[in-house]
Symmetry: C2
Subunit: 288 residues, 2 copies
């Protein structure tokens, strides 16, 4: 790692785990945690996750060689507007947001001369948030999508790729628009559906949720994710998410129609092809 | 346990785990496994899960004090028609089906004089099926819903309740119709949605499913459940499942509308109330 000073804006699960991952690999530079909640930053510093902290964003980034944006996506623009004049020439700004095209479109033009932005998305969330859930191996073996745009500096790109690989991630380059289309389907849709499942059930009767078994708990675990974070993702990836939500709704109508028409073999076929596809991504297939 | 001979029809995950649970608690009687797949039954016998086996259902139940129906719900009627004349007086027939009202309506009138049916539903599935996934503690601490009808014999009811408690389940009596309404929401809906999520995603592009993270894997794990089983549940609980699917669809339309109208605070409120409700059923809440 060639960085001496790293600033992490947003010291939550991802930001903290990033810091712990660096330290676990012997990073000897200084990590400054930046955020709005001083108590949280103080705790992170006491726990040795970060070396210094500040709630004044512009101050925190002043000497940073690398700035990692790890707050909810919707705050990125304001943050960069607040800190851009303090970013030093040669610094790299990167992020961990679940949406890429919209973020890149907004942030790239805000970078001062000599500062490069590279968009990234580590596929390593969990439903718990905050520094207590952070671990040094959250990114180990996990994929991290890096989304260069036509304006991305190649050297900065290589540096960011190298950084994620150094902490154990398997990086993958992807076009930002392709990223947003794919993740609308495989991540954003499931999150919205998890919230929708819980609300549908409690709207029937608030007391019945506890009757659910492990299946329901597994299916709705990601409904524990922060509401603000997912609101922001819906804002920034609105078109793609609306597109996949409409497809999902049409598909649900098709299932309802099969049941209305008592087309049981049609219904079984739909279930069977889903099962088959789901098996293909199951790591431990021998018992299924 | 006062039974000497137990017949388990359907030696899969639930049937095998039931047998293993009995044996782990010192059951000294004889357990006969009955099914259509002789290889599976032979293996179960070799593994010590069952003591004897047959593919001739009527033969298998002849001396049974207890008959446990653990095959997909849609086969129950045919099975009982095949074996009813061999059931001995005083025998109890019970089941583990995820649907209760329809099963009870069909099976109760088929019971010969002196044979009592008691409906049951252990909340203890997992996404893996078959004897290799079976364990002696699948039901330990798990709920088991017992659904007496107006025709249910009280002594047989007590016996079935006692049996599930003896193998570690926490039993709960519930009206069959209430059961079917609740489980349409907390179990059947999530299963159908899991299948629907997978199919929606692969209908966009068959190759993108592997991009999903743990969230998607958790959410679609129950899509690994046998298609025939869930087709049968949809057949037997058609009205309740259609009702909750329609509610879920309306709710999805509401979410789509919020996004179309860019009502982001409305959307965040929906996500937040789902998160709050989901937290209430999280056993380990301190980190959330």
């Amino acid at each position: 790692m060639n960085f001496k000073n790293i600033a992490i804006i947003g010291v939550g699960l991802i930001g903290s785990s990033f810091a712990l991952s660096l330290k676990a690999r012997g990073f000897s530079g200084r990590i400054t945690g930046i955020g709005r909640n001083e108590d949280n930053l103080l705790r992170a510093e006491e726990m040795g996750i970060i070396d210094a902290h500040t709630t004044v964003h512009a101050e925190g980034v002043r000497n940073a060689d690398l700035v990692l944006l790890a707050s909810p996506v919707g705050r990125f623009e304001q943050i960069i507007n607040d800190v851009r004049h303090e970013l030093k020439a040669g610094a790299i700004v990167t992020d961990v947001g679940s949406v890429k095209a919209g973020v890149i479109r907004i942030l790239e033009p805000l970078m001062p001369p000599g500062v490069n932005f590279v968009g990234g998305h580590p596929i390593a969330g969990k439903e718990c948030s905050g520094i207590d859930a952070a671990t040094a191996d959250l990114f180990t073996g996990a994929r991290c999508i890096i989304t260069p745009s036509p304006r991305t500096d190649r050297e900065a790109l290589d540096t960011v790729v190298g950084m994620w690989e150094e902490i154990g991630s398997r990086t993958l380059l992807m076009n930002p628009e392709e990223h947003d289309l794919i993740f609308a389907a495989v991540s954003h849709l499931p999150h919205v559906v998890a919230y929708a499942l819980v609300n549908t059930i409690i709207d029937v009767d608030g007391g019945i949720l506890h009757h659910g078994g492990n299946g329901l708990r597994d299916m709705t675990r990601i409904a524990l994710s922060p509401a603000e974070l997912w609101r922001d993702i819906c804002i920034y990836n609105r078109e793609e998410i609306l597109g996949i939500l409409r497809k999902f709704s049409s598909y649900m109508s098709r299932i309802i129609k099969l049941m209305e028409e008592t087309d049981w073999s049609g219904l079984e076929k739909e279930f069977a092809r889903a099962k088959e596809a789901r098996r293909s991504i199951e790591p431990d297939q021998h018992k299924k």
